[in-house]
Symmetry: C2
Subunit: 220 residues, 2 copies
């Protein structure tokens, strides 16, 4: 054998490794949950040996926290951007924009596993759940509630109880992305997120009730 034609057994890529490990770990944690996730599996998917993980993260828990923190930072950046972009447009347009951005940004990316992961592990890592609750959920809620309140004040929306309405607004979208990671494989036909969002928005603004349900029909 020619030693010079044999490729190196590995490469030194100290800059790229942490990110790659994080991505592999996110996928494994989302699929299996914290306790069932095997670090051998994370290493395999990241293309390194298990011991290499420990060069970058002190232990499994620190890796887990880094995964969530990293995803969190991405989310917060996005939330801030949305908050700025939402501006003072009409409430309807604003909610449409927010939910579209949420679905496009989150639903299609590995990030979408984070809500499921945090919910599943809330009992095991309450500090993490609280962190997520306070930093992501509370901000998202504030944006939605603000938009709702302004819409109500402007006479654009009916006077719903915003403290409960915000969960009704985000519920179907959040459920859709949790669904994706749990049951999508069992659905005969897949789920079209665009279509889901379109139906969701239509029902959110216009309701289910036909407009002529007060006893008289205005149209044939």
């Amino acid at each position: 054998m020619n030693p010079e034609t044999r490729p190196p057994r590995w490469q030194r890529r100290a800059e790229a490794r942490p990110q790659e490990v994080l991505e592999a770990a996110l996928a494994v944690f989302v699929e299996r949950g914290y306790a069932s996730a095997r670090l051998d599996e994370v290493a395999r998917r990241a293309g390194v040996a298990k011991a290499t993980l420990y060069l970058y993260y002190a232990n499994k828990l620190e890796l887990f926290k880094a995964v969530v923190r990293h995803a969190l930072v991405d989310n917060l950046d996005e939330v801030a951007r949305l908050q700025a972009a939402a501006g003072a447009r009409p409430g309807r347009e604003q909610l449409t924009f927010l939910l579209h951005a949420f679905m496009r940004r989150v639903a299609g990316s590995p990030l979408s596993g984070i809500p499921k992961l945090v919910m599943a592990e809330a009992g095991n890592f309450p500090e993490l759940a609280r962190f997520y609750h306070d930093e992501v959920i509370a901000r998202g809620r504030a944006i939605i509630c603000g938009t709702l309140a302004r819409g109500i004040a402007a006479g654009e929306f009916r006077a719903v109880d915003v403290d409960y309405a915000w969960r009704v607004v985000i519920g179907p979208a959040l459920l859709a992305i949790i669904w994706k990671h749990s049951f999508l494989a069992f659905e005969d036909r897949g789920m079209d997120f665009e279509r889901h969002l379109a139906v969701h928005l239509d029902m959110l603004f216009n309701g289910l009730a036909a407009p002529d349900q007060k006893g008289t029909r205005d149209e044939p």
Copy 2:
């Protein structure tokens, strides 16, 4: 010491044990997930020794399956009862009845942990997730879709796409019970499930948009 005043170290209660173990196991599995759940903890909460669990369930996996299967049977009974009770009433009344029953029956009981548990473990136990999907979700969906379709045919509901609308209908309710097991502890004020449902139903039927948003006001 008087040997006759000393209470027995334990009692033989072969009829009650399995049920008690199942209840303790459900609580622990929901809180911690399958892999993190300790059988010592299950035994402690059921008031028995760990070895006693093995008198009634062959191993951890069988116990887990028994927990889900047991909860499933309860759910299916309920679903069948609802299906019968829903009858041929107007769609609006029917959906209100269904969601009320769902919230009252599920939200307040330990059963409410099952959806969270099954979602969290779907990656680890796909057969179980499929079972749940086919037996519980598919039936619930069929009931909602049927009600929607009949309401649309009767002109009571607008002609939404029922294949997507059903998730919008159940989404906020399902999210509420998942919430309860993950984030409720971090909310300043608790969540009033009755109030949540009231807001949910109001928005579901009437939508967010104020009725005078087409440019003209029909009523003062």
